[in-house]
Symmetry: C2
Subunit: 367 residues, 2 copies
């Protein structure tokens, strides 16, 4: 695979929907929600064979950086950048683009979330190799799109058009999160894909796109990049990065670019048929494990001993405790040393609101 592929892993999110397990200094990507490795360890392990060597960055914040370095002891410290202030995805990936543009503008940059599950890493790397090849040619942008299996309202969608190069479909447009009715139409239409948040471009393509669509931020990033590799970098980064606009790459570049039309925009969608799951909530985690373990009653209970009676489709996390579940369905209970969450499979997406409340009340120990 290309020597000139640079993955950028975004690991600054909090994953508040996994409270009380996720905390400010132990965000979702630092939890082992699926197997023994944490989500970020899995992400790095998945990308290492594709990036050969250590050509990649993790972008996070000061709260999470120490634990990331602890979980990934083989990383060099300067591979894990802490944003002085969260600025969403456009500045994060843009910085990588402007740094590489100076020395290696043909290098392909990939943007990857750090907290998703991919069931088939080999297939992931096959798709990635295809994507890198497409991104390396001309001004192409590649997005990985997931075939929808339900009318999900929590994701953005990609509307695909004609077949472009190789297996890639030309992207007709990016859409915001739809309402339920629209999501159902998308599902039925068959040419809509979930936006996985994984993108590929050459450094040049991305830097140019940012200069075109986000000139102020591009200028700031260019200044920061100019100090990369010098002892001024840390200070410049801290000082200037907060001046970047707080905006996603989707909104800043992909949506306006796709407005140029299917042929002009050069955005391609590769189908992410490698068992992708963003584990967006306790419910998604429950379903992910239930699919793999297929318990007859749909219960997934971690505890020191378990008793169930007339109970189905519950998710209970209480390691170290004997757990009894009696006459209850579709409930989510998660316990930690200092907190207890009780919710339902249907309402688990609202768990982030607990964290919002705790933030507001300045109950810092609990977030």
């Amino acid at each position: 695979m290309s020597e000139d592929f640079y993955p950028v892993i975004l690991a600054g999110g909090r994953g508040t929907r996994f409270w009380p397990l996720s905390r400010k200094k132990r965000a979702k990507q630092l939890l082992a929600l699926d197997g023994k490795q944490t989500m970020i360890q899995q992400t790095v392990a998945r990308l290492l064979p594709a990036s050969r060597g250590k050509q990649f960055w993790i972008i996070t914040n000061d709260d999470l950086r120490p634990e990331i370095l602890r979980q990934l002891p083989k990383l060099a410290k300067d591979q894990v950048l802490a944003e002085p202030m969260g600025r969403n995805t456009a500045p994060a990936i843009g910085l990588a683009a402007f740094i590489l543009q100076r020395t290696n503008p043909d290098a392909v940059i990939g943007l990857f979330p750090s907290d998703h599950v991919i069931a088939n890493p080999d297939r992931f790397r096959e798709v990635l190799a295809d994507g890198i090849q497409i991104a390396a040619s001309g001004e192409n942008i590649v997005v990985l799109g997931v075939q929808p299996t339900r009318p999900e309202t929590g994701y953005g969608y990609i509307e695909a058009g004609s077949l472009g190069t190789a297996d890639a479909l030309r992207v007709r447009r990016f859409t915001e999160k739809p309402n339920a009715e629209t999501a159902a139409e998308f599902l039925k239409a068959g040419n809509y894909y979930w936006n996985s948040g994984m993108f590929l471009w050459s450094a040049r393509t991305l830097a140019n796109a940012l200069t075109e669509h986000l000139p102020k931020t591009a200028a700031v990033l260019e200044k920061i990049a100019a100090d990369y590799g010098t002892n001024k970098f840390a200070g410049t980064f801290r000082r200037l990065y907060p001046k970047c606009e707080n905006i996603s790459i989707d909104y800043a570049v992909l949506e306006p670019r796709s407005a140029k039309g299917e042929e002009e925009s050069n955005i391609f969608c590769l189908r992410a048929d490698f068992g992708w799951n963003d584990l967006g909530s306790w419910t998604a985690l429950h379903e992910h494990h239930a699919t793999r373990q297929s318990p007859a009653d749909g219960n997934l209970i971690s505890g020191q001993g378990i008793f169930t009676l007339n109970a189905s489709s519950n998710y209970v996390h209480a390691p170290g405790k004997f757990v009894a579940v009696v006459g209850v369905n579709d409930i989510v209970v998660v316990e930690t040393d200092d907190a207890l969450l009780v919710t339902t499979r249907e309402n688990a997406q609202d768990v982030g609101k607990v964290v919002k409340y705790l933030d507001e009340k300045k109950m810092g120990k609990l977030v």
Copy 2:
């Protein structure tokens, strides 16, 4: 009130429906489910003014006796008898009858559960005083009956007949726990009362009734009573008590006696209009507290900080933890150091089955 009133408090039950809070050595009656005092402390405090001095016994078992003595330090040790083997209510109350018959056959014995709530202790003692008076006359038996407020299928019912002496109604018959249809009929009929398990008789009446209806057990109890007050008592009690039949006083005496007919049987029902609640389950406890505290959303949550969102009528006990309840109704969650119970208000009566399972699996630490 009568110098010759001897309450007998039954405190040998396990109260398994309050698992995981209730345990073999910390049964329901030893928990402070309502206020700061434990149930048995409340029971004793309620009866002390009626019994003047220390004319009463607590009957329990070896598992619970140490904690009972600890919770009631003013009791003499010989007031707390540990049955060598649980034999249900007939032998327990019968032993008191045969002991008192030897020295004070006119004394009135009262049988009281140790784990019920009584909202109005003053009114309780008024009813009690009436009952003692009725029980002291002739061969009368007094039962305290609770006006039903719902078609409860978990209690036995008393069918009342004509007005007897004072406020007391003659008892027509005792019924087993009814099915839902019958319970609804009882509620509608208006002359059915819940059997509270509180009874009053003279020692002579009770001893005679046992001799008539349960002759084998009566003979055993008479032998044990003969050694009371001597240093042989403890040994005789341990050796002979297990020979008693394992039977309730309702089934052994009250049901056959009531079969003699309303006039012949001399069983009277006094209305227990003093805010009785047996707190039979987590749901009953929830309702008891909700009635008194009237939270707008019906949630009763004990924790170190609480957040609720779209949640109503939940009962959560997790002292020391921050508790978040999101989008869930009618759920019961109880947490202890070593166990977590998740159930519903509707199914909390099945919690005893958890303890049955733990007993069967010999998971002794958890029961």
